[in-house]
Each structure stands twice: as C-alpha cells, then as structure tokens.
C-alpha cells in the first residue's frame, strides 16, 4: 500500500504521492549547557526521536472529504495515531499535528497541507553515561507517589526499570518539574523548609489518573520521593538515587489537563509539638498551677527538676467570711470536691457531707481540729493521704534526691518519698512509663526562723505583768496534816545479850527458910520415889532457850561413914560424888546442858548410900542459868519444892526509835496586786521555730538521672519516641566532653528542640531523604571535592552570585550561659555557669555583635563543653563570610548539605554547603544542581 492513511478499517487512499516541497526535521530531546570553563554539557532528555513532516497533496474533492472525515472521525484529530504508507511503500506511525489546510486549485482539484508527527524509539544510552558523563548522560527523574496504598511512579517519559522497587514502569504524566531547594539557611536561629512543585498531566484515558488520585484520596498522607536515574545504567549497580523527599502540601487542578502539586520537605513532619500536657481530664486532681504544663522529658543528669503535682488535691478558697459554726457555705469552685473529702481551711479540717454547685455542707472541726471562723479568701484545699508528683514523662535510671521548697530554700525530703522510676517493675499503677514520686499524708515543716526586727524598737512601753497575782485559788495547800507515823515502832523484841544472865539463888533472901535444902537428916520430901533434897525450877512459857544451868551445891556429911552423894535430874542420875568423909563439908558444882528444855526442871540431891538424907545436909545451893539466843518477855524463876522459892521477876529495859512520816500541806491564798510599767529600747531578735509552708502543693524538685546523654542518643530518642523516625545518622564525632544534660520542659515542636540541641553541641540537625542526620561541625573544614566550574549562560555569564552573610549573623562577643537551674524560669538568672569569649578584630570591623538569645544553653552542664562551643561559634561567626550561590551540573549532584568543598572557580575558596538543591531538566532546559556555600 502506498500513499494512504490507515486506521483500523478506515483508509484514505490518495490519488498521487505528495509534492516534494515538504520537509522532515528529526529531533532528539537533548539539551545542552556550558560551565564557566567552557565545557559543554549535553544531556539526553528524551526516550524518543520525533520527526516532523509536512505533506502537500493534490487530491480530488472526494479524497479531501475522505481525508477530513478520517481526521475527524477516525483519528480524532491528533488523538489517535494511524499509519501512513508513503510513496515508497514505507509505513510510518504518525499523528496529525495542528490543522489540515486545503485549497481548491481547480475543478475537483484541491491542495491539502497536512502536518504529521512521527515518533520513534530512542534507544537508551550505554552504561558509560552516568552522573559524571559530561555529554550523553540521560538523566531521568522519577516522582514516587503513594496514594491509597498504591505506589505510582511518575516521570516525563515512559521508563521501565525491571529490577528496582520490584519492577516499575513510569507513567509519563509529568509536564513540568519545579526545582528543589533543600537545606538550612545560614541563620542560626531559623530553619527553612524547602519545597518542590511539579505539574502533572491528566490522562483522560487512564484510570486512575492524576485527577482521580487528587480528588479521590488524601495525597498528603504519604511521603513523596523524587529520584534521579540515568537511563542506560544498570539499575542494580546504579539504581535511582533519591534526591528529595517530602509530603504533598498543596494540590491544585487549574484546568482539565493538569494537576499541580507542591511537595514540602519532610521536616514539616517534625513540626509536631512534643510533650504531655497535664490536664484535668487525665489527672482530675492535678495542681491547677501545673495544668497546661508539660511533664518534663529529661536527658542525662538534671538537678532540681520541678515535678508536677498530678494528685495534689483540690484547692479553692472561701469567697465570704464564715463563722465557726457554719456547716454550709460556698467555695469559689467546688469542682472535683466530693462527699467524703476532707478539706482544710486555715488550721481547721472539715468533712464534706454534701456538694451542691459550689456550696459545701460540712462537718466542722474534724480530725481533732477546732472549728474556727475563716475570713474571705481563705485558701481551702483537699487533704489527701497520698500525693503524686510526676518527675518525667519517661522511665528514669535514678532519682537520687527529692527536695521540697520551703520558702526560698530547698530541703531534702527524699526519705519521706517513695520513688518510682517508671521502668517495668518499678512503676506506680496508673502512671506506667512515667517516673513519679509519692508523698504520703500532708506534711508541714517547721523551720527555724530568725528575724531581725529592729535595732531600736519599743517592745513594750508599759509592761503590765499582773495586777493581782493569784497563785492559787486562795488556799495554799501545803499539806492538810502532818502525817507522823501512826505507830511508834518499838522494838518488839528486846535483844538481850546472849551471854549469861545470872540469877542467884539466895536462900536468905529468896528462899524461905522452910524451903532451905538444909536438912537435918530427915527426908522431908519425896521426889520421884527417891528421898532427897530437890530444887524445882519453873521456867515461864516465854522463857528463852536455855543452854545450860550450873548448880553449886554445898553439903556437909553428918556421919562418918562413907557417903555417896548423887545428883539426879528427874529420873536420871547425872552426877555421883563418893567417898565423902563424915563431917566433911563439900561443895561441888555441876552443869546441865541437856534435859533442861522443859518448863519445869527438877534437880535433887540425895545420899547415894541409902542412908537417907539424914546424913546429908545441904548447906546451900545456887544455880546459874545460861540462855542461848534472844529471849524476850519475862523470866520467872521459881523454886518449888521444899525450898519453895520463887524466882524473882526481873524487869528488862527496852530501847528503840520512833518517827512519824506524813505530808505537810499549807492552805492559803497568795496574790500580788500592782502594775508593772516598763519601756525597753534596743535590738529585738526573735528566734525560734515557726510553722513554714506545707510541702505538698508547693514546689517539689528532683535530681534525676537518665542514662541517655550522648548528643546522638538524645536526638535519636526524640526522633524515635515522638516523631516515628527510627534512624539517625551522625556525621562526625563529638568531642569527649560533649554530653547532654537537660530537660524538655516547654511545649515546642520537635524540630525546634532538635535544632536547639544540635546548636548547643555545635552540630546541624536536618532530615535528609527520609533519614535524620546530626552533623558535627568541625573546627576545620575537611573538603571532599573541588568544583572547578560553575554553570555559565550562553552569553558567558557565570551563574555565581556572591553576597555577604547577613550582618545579623556576625557574632564577635559571646556570653554563653549554661548549667541551667531548672527550678527557675528560663532567663539570664537561671544559669549557674558562663563561658565568655570575644574577638577584638571583629569588634573593630563590625562593632560589637552579640546574640545572647542563642546562647542560653539549657543542655550544657560542663564548663569544658561550654568553652568549646563558645570558641567554635566565635571562630565561625566573628568573621563575616561570603555566601556563594551557584549552579553546576549533575556530575556534582552527590554533594550534600554540610559537605565542605573548594570553589575552583572562585579562588579555590573552601566553604561549607548550607543549601543543596536541584532542578530537573526538561526538553529545553538542562538539569542542574544548585548550591549555597558559606565560605
């Protein structure tokens, strides 16, 4: 077939070949640029080669009509490609372009002009055309969108990459790429979020297409990623490289052909405010002063970090005076108070029995307190048995000390607190994952107070001691009765001497003559069947124990015969004296030591020879009685018998002591009447104990330790805990002295905190392509690459803009405050340490430039670290540097923010990249990268 248009069953057959006036213009999608050294960069931007053709035909009216019908009904204008069989019989796939013009040039002759466009596949370049290829590289940009859980890969051409992301085929929907400017501005206090715009085509034949995606889904929900790849590269060895990552921020559909997206740097997702605010919903009895504050998030060792009272009891006030007997009265706000609660106003405690609105019905003076009147404005607070203070919104490793604020001083109250670190097994129920302390009961503190009132103050001008001194009720009870001892304790037993007490029998005075044992030979008595003389001794019943009785007997033998004299004691003969010579007078003595216990002792003497007493005359007899032990009572010695003598009664003296014990009481009235007036001038120094503030409800401070102190660890913890970013890359190493010791105590965004922490350890923080980076800024730049040339325009101008860094960024005087006192609000007086540095040359050049607001370093506690940070910033910012903004080509596209480079086109100046962006190319514009370098 020749000279025909064919589309399916529809064919337009031309009568003759086209005139040869037309021409072809094959065109590649290649762009070129030039750098400041004159080097040409040529990038292969397309996947097709397009040939534009123009046919000029002389055709009949019927053919013209067929052609016009074909164009309208078959190819739908330019929409549907068709086959053109040329005059050589070669088939071309073409589409109409623009209009079909025709002119009648004769009878049934028409000249028609047809513009065609023929696309042919442009093969991928070889493997050698990668990033560093000055000419021939075929960069292609791919925008990955995740919408509705489906990944869409958009580009400005159709590209198949079989071994990347599971194999993709891009949708050629991108009409125009914007440019990416990514980085952090030089300003130390600002973070600039970059964005990127892209215009996409709506393909009405695709389902879904950009319009349905934009209108049917939340495109902002997932990250968008921009990749750079070079066609022809092995996607395994050289896969697409991510150059930008962000989130769709703006979506616009300006007409029915395009959708415009604005994609913002993902650091926007770090704009999340971090920290848990105390609120009454979660913590109904939280201290109102702490409501709205965030629970601290400490790192490292933090001293005297204020804890927040989450269970502090309700506190309100009494809006009107109440008497000591009022049982129902209003309070300013009864929210949270309930029946059964104990409240306290001044020193009185009350039991709530009813709550109606803001009116309480109470039982007054409970718990041993005294009902009293209270004045309007009296603070009323709920008494609780347990008070809970939260120390950290995370688990801690230690809470070494707890302080209570008493006036202006802190007092160690660790011993009365229970500390929960918040880690598993060491948590307080209801406060899992949080470090808390509890204080049992209501604690007051007595504090020694010394007050210097005045050096010369009249304490009491007139001191009235007592007009009447009444010592007692009028009766001085010295003792009603002197209590002597009631009984004189006479010694009941007269202690006689244990010795002998002789009681001499004397017949002449104690024995009647008739009882005299002197016998004339006639037995005058018979005793126990034995005749003889006997002596009877009768001992009184109270007589003591007798140890012996000695008798002395004198007898005279009346006859000459031998005679035996026997002494008998009862029926027992105890002595016998023989061979007594007649007429002889004989005296003998005997002693009885036994048989003398009875009350009656009979001793008698007789003639043992049987001659009877006629021959024995008892002349005299005496006896001595020896008692043993103590005797008492009276001893009556009597002699019965023939002698008939009665022992005389003997009176014994008794000696002892007597005393009287008792109370002496004096009853009377003592009073003193009168007045005492005195004026005292001088120094009065009251000193003593006074009741100070109650601890609970007041400030509680804690020393805390959390073993997360390395800068990288701290940043990583913030990212993973609060931002869902699980990876952090630290670039460079921090000096050994660098550690983070501080706390997040204010409600600010994660990005702000991260930036502040990074600043305080002389580092940059940024999100880069889905990963967080903490980049340590070295003292000396270590350059990684030299860029020999920047981009130049076609008329030879360098695209290299230089401007001096902002004047406000000059810093030549630093007073870096560190070691924060966390019990104080942030401000110049809340720091205990300072590091100072100045640069005289810079001051001379620019005047004194200080940024004190930047150098309140809450997270620095070490003097060494503070000095190092201070020196670093003075080194970098005392000299006003230049900002170099320039463009280059993709062979430098690997350079990133914070890389140190040498600007070969600008005097080999070394500098630090603080902005790195890129501009994807198009069919008319070459791809470039753009840097801002601080040098």
């Amino acid at each position: 077939m020749i000279n025909a248009f064919v589309l399916g069953p529809t064919t337009v057959q031309f009568d003759a070949p086209p005139l040869r006036a037309g021409g072809d213009s094959p065109e590649l999608f290649q762009v070129e640029g030039r750098d400041s050294l004159g080097t040409r960069y040529i990038y292969d931007k397309g996947a097709i080669v397009r040939t534009s053709r123009r046919l000029s035909l002389k055709i009949t009216g019927a053919t013209l009509n067929a052609l016009l019908a074909f164009a309208a009904d078959a190819s739908h204008g330019a929409k549907i490609p068709f086959t053109w069989h040329d005059h050589d019989g070669i088939a071309h796939t073409v589409r109409l372009v623009g209009s079909i013009s025709h002119q009648q040039i004769g009878p049934d002759r028409h000249r028609a002009e047809i513009a065609l466009e023929e696309d042919a596949v442009w093969p991928d370049p070889g493997a050698g055309y990668g990033k560093d290829s000055v000419t021939g590289a075929a960069p292609v940009w791919i925008l990955k969108l995740t919408v509705g859980g489906v990944n869409y890969y958009l580009s400005d051409m159709t590209i198949s990459i079989a071994s990347w992301e599971g194999g993709i085929v891009t949708k050629p929907w991108v009409a125009a790429w914007g440019s990416v400017q990514e980085g952090i501005s030089n300003s130390l206090s600002e973070i600039r979020v970059s964005d990127f715009s892209v215009t996409c085509l709506i393909n009405p034949d695709a389902a879904p297409n950009m319009e349905t995606l934009a209108t049917g889904y939340v495109m902002e929900a997932n990250p968008a990623e921009l990749y750079l790849w070079f066609r022809g590269q092995d996607p395994v060895a050289s896969p697409p490289v991510m150059k930008f990552r962000g989130y769709v921020k703006n979506v616009e559909i300006p007409d029915n052909t395009t959708v415009s997206l604005v994609i913002e740097d993902e650091t926007v997702r770090l704009g999340k405010y971090i920290g848990t605010k105390v609120d009454r919903t979660a913590y109904p009895s939280a201290d109102p002063d702490d409501v709205g504050r965030i629970i601290p998030i400490p790192y490292g060792s933090v001293s005297k970090l204020p804890a927040l009272a989450l269970e502090a009891g309700i506190q309100t006030s009494i809006p009107a005076n109440i008497s000591s007997t009022a049982t129902s009265f209003p309070v300013s706000d009864a929210t949270g108070l309930a029946v059964g609660h104990i409240i306290q106003a001044d020193d009185e405690q009350m039991l709530i029995q009813g709550v109606s609105g803001d009116t309480l019905t109470v039982q007054r003076g409970v718990n041993g307190t005294i009902a009293a009147s209270h004045l309007m404005g009296a603070i009323t607070w709920q008494r609780k048995n347990r008070f809970v203070y939260v120390v950290a919104d995370c688990a801690l490793d230690a809470i070494p000390k707890v302080y209570g604020r008493v006036g202006e001083a802190e007092m160690d109250i660790t011993s009365i607190c229970t500390r929960y670190l918040g880690s598993p097994g060491n948590e307080l129920a209801g406060y899992e994952g949080k470090a808390v302390i509890t204080v049992l009961g209501y604690i007051t503190v007595q504090q020694a107070v010394e007050m210097m009132i005045n050096d010369g103050i009249d304490v009491i001008d007139v001191a009235t001691l007592l007009n009447t001194l009444v010592i007692s009720n009028g009766t001085l009870n010295a003792g009603d009765t002197i209590q002597m001892t009631d009984n004189i304790s006479v010694i009941d037993t007269i202690s006689l001497t244990n010795g002998l007490h002789s009681h001499t029998y004397n017949s002449s005075n104690s024995q009647a003559a008739s009882n005299c044992p002197v016998q004339s030979g006639t037995v005058t008595s018979n005793f126990n069947g034995i005749s003889g003389v006997y002596w009877r001794v009768n001992f009184a019943a109270t007589a003591g124990t007798r140890s012996q009785i000695t008798f002395n007997v004198s007898v005279t033998k009346k006859v000459a015969n031998s005679l035996t004299v026997e002494i008998w004691l009862g029926a027992t003969q105890i002595k016998s004296y023989s061979s007594i010579i007649s007429g002889e007078k004989m005296t003998f003595e005997f002693t009885l030591t036994s048989g003398i216990a009875g009350d009656t002792l009979d001793v008698f003497c007789r003639d043992g020879s049987g001659l009877g007493n006629t021959f024995l005359q008892v002349d005299s007899a005496s006896r001595t009685i020896q008692f043993s032990g103590t005797s008492s009572g009276s001893v009556t010695v009597s002699k019965n018998g023939s002698a008939g003598r009665t022992a005389p009664m003997i009176n014994l003296p008794k000696t002892g002591k007597a005393y009287l014990a008792g109370n002496i009481e004096y009853t009377g009235t003592i009073s003193k009447n009168g007045a005492t007036w005195s004026t005292k001038t001088g120094t009065v120094t009251p000193y003593g104990n006074s009741v100070a503030n109650t601890l609970v409800g007041d400030t509680i401070l804690c020393d805390v330790v959390r073993n997360v102190t390395a800068p990288g660890d701290v940043v990583s913890n913030i990212l993973s805990t609060y931002c869902g970013v699980t990876s952090l890359q630290q670039v460079g190493a921090f000096p050994a002295s660098y550690s983070i010791n501080g706390a997040i105590t204010e409600y600010r965004t994660a990005l702000e905190w991260l930036n502040e922490i990074a600043f305080q350890c002389r580092a940059w923080f940024r999100m880069e392509l889905g990963a967080a980076k903490l980049i340590v800024r070295p003292d000396a730049l270590a350059t990684v690459k030299t860029i020999p040339a920047c981009r130049a325009t076609n008329d030879g101008r360098r695209i290299h803009r230089r401007r001096k860094a902002p004047y406000d960024d000059i810093i030549n005087k630093i007073n870096l405050l560190f070691d924060r006192d966390w019990s104080k609000s942030r401000g110049d007086d809340a720091y205990r340490g300072m590091s100072k540095a100045t640069d005289a040359t810079s001051i001379a050049n620019y005047g004194e430039r200080e940024r004190p607001e930047l150098f309140l370093c809450d997270f620095i506690t070490s003097q060494t670290m503070a000095d190092d940070v201070c020196a670093f910033y003075l080194l970098r910012y005392a000299v006003r540097q230049w900002l170099h903004e320039f463009e280059t080509y993709l062979d430098h596209s690997e350079l990133k923010f914070s890389d140190a480079i040498i600007l070969g086109f600008s005097g080999n100046t070394a500098g630090e990249i603080i902005e790195a962006g890129c501009s994807p190319g198009s069919s008319t514009q070459i791809d470039t990268v753009k840097f801002t370098v601080l040098a």
């Binding site: 065109e27 004159g38 040529i42």
Partner: protein, 144 residues
C-alpha cells in the same frame, strides 16, 4: 521533471571553483569501526565562529566586554542531492553512533581535512526530498 535542484547543485561546484571531485570521501568517523562515507559530496560547507562572551553596557550604551569564555566553530553542511541510501545511513549514524549531540566524532571535509566535531543541535535542521533518491539535507557540526 521541473525540479532541477540537483543539476544546479552540481553546477555550483563548478561555479564555486570546486577543486575536488564529486564523490570525494567526505566522511564521519568514530573509532576504528564506525565510519560513514557519503556517496555524494555536500556543498562546500559554511563555517561560523561564535564567541561565548559576556557583554554589558552602561546606561549610556558604552560597552564593557569580558574576555570570551569559549568560542564555537560551527560547520554547516548541506547536501542538495543526498541519496536515500546516504540519508538512511546518516540518520542511523546520527541516532546510534553520534547519539545526536552526545558523541564527538571526526569529520573529513571535501578537502580531506579532519576535525573533531559534534552535531551542534538536537535537531537535524532539514531533510527535504527533492526528487527521487535526491534529498536536500542540512547538518550543523560544532568543531570541538
């Protein structure tokens, strides 16, 4: 057969004092294997020299001109009667060997002078069929 461009072109050679012979080995060469010799010689090429040079003017139009950054020599080749065979080979060379502007190659002109060149534009300026097996073709080369 009113189109006489081919004949006119041949006459131009004479009029312009062409000293070579038709069919002189005008060629594109790249490496040892890729070579494109044209069966029909082009017209005598035209050359231009362009300077990449920043130029500024004062408000009163007094110029301040920097030294040139680079200078480009452009060779304009034009065939008035390229055969279809040569055209197809040229297009193939352009696409697959030179890859448009990407690759540099050697150009041997009708005088036998060799120069390293690139295609100067992503577009082949014009291909027009004048008569059977005769095409007007214009090509711009940038001398490296």
């Amino acid at each position: 057969m009113g189109d006489t461009g081919y004949i006119e072109s041949q006459l131009n050679y004479v009029e312009d004092g062409y000293i070579g012979l038709p069919g002189s080995p005008v060629a594109f060469l790249l490496g040892a294997t890729d070579a494109l010799y044209f069966g029909r010689s082009p017209d005598r090429h035209g050359k231009s020299l362009a300077f990449i040079q920043a130029r500024a003017e004062s408000a009163a139009a007094e110029p301040i001109i920097h030294d040139y950054l680079a200078k480009d020599t452009i060779v304009d080749l034009a065939w008035s009667n390229m055969s279809r065979f040569d055209l197809d080979r040229l297009l193939s060379w352009w696409r697959t060997v030179a890859r448009g502007m990407a690759m540099a190659f050697d150009y041997i002109d009708i005088n036998g002078i060799r120069a390293t060149v690139q295609f100067a534009s992503p577009r082949l300026p014009e291909i027009r069929e004048r008569t059977y097996d005769s095409y007007e073709v214009k090509v711009s080369l940038r001398v490296m």
